[in-house]
């Protein structure tokens, strides 16, 4: 991947780090001069991806979550990576309202939110090895 700037962040899969993670990525994205709405979109998408790592990837056990972010032109690409359980059926997991955790009142909207709030979304997963979510957002130049 070609980029002009990048950062990498590693932290434990504890829920108190969700706020930390989305705030760090938003601060990194700020150099692209995004609108308040674009920053909110990025924070929300990162929060969904990190929450997925904690609940589904590591099933509330402790593991390492890695976030990498790359800037190229007006584009920011964010990768959220866990080395957890992996996803058996990515297509099914990405369906709106699909949740394996209905009894915990999970809305099943994580991937839908990521798709809606970002411009591109890719998911790579190997059962037993982990999951990588790659999200891209183009910060508009016409503002």
């Amino acid at each position: 991947m070609e980029y002009t700037n990048m950062m990498e962040l590693k932290f434990l899969s504890k829920s108190q780090n969700e706020s930390f993670a989305r705030t760090v990525v938003a601060a990194f994205a700020a150099q692209l001069d995004p609108t308040i709405e674009e920053i909110a979109d990025i924070k929300t998408a990162v929060s969904e991806a990190v929450t997925n790592c904690i609940i589904h990837g590591y099933e509330n056990k402790i593991g390492i979550i890695t976030i990498k972010a790359f800037i190229s032109g007006n584009k920011i690409t964010i990768e959220v990576i866990d080395e957890g359980k992996g996803i058996d059926d990515i297509e099914k997991a990405m369906q709106p309202l699909f949740t394996t955790r209905l009894e915990e009142e999970r809305a099943g909207m994580g991937f839908t939110v990521m798709q809606t709030f970002m411009d591109e979304l890719e998911v790579e997963s190997t059962p037993g090895k982990g999951t990588l979510v790659r999200m891209t957002k183009y910060i508009r130049s016409d503002k």
Partner: protein, 111 residues
Amino acid sequence: MRVKFAKKEDTLIVKIEGELDHHVAESIKSVIDDEYEKKSCKNLIFDFKNVNFMDSSGIGVIIGRYKKIKENNGKVAIVNANKQLHKIIEVSGLLRIIKCYNDIEEALKEI
């Protein structure tokens, strides 16, 4: 994150302050459910005026409360959601079952 409560007739007003994500979702759920039962309320209004961030965990909190309150023949409404909150509420399809109002007075009148 803090939660403040007020009661108007049989409606519980839940004022959440701070960020509503997975980290705080579980404790918010139990605090709200306890208060709703303790005060013998029927309806519930979420006041999001001081919520500056919410992800789909917040949607889970709202849907869960909606199901419980519906069983009690009550209604749920949302007031003072900012632009970011409105976007996620809309994307999640929540507007099909729960209405958003501009302020508490309007919600109390319509509920």
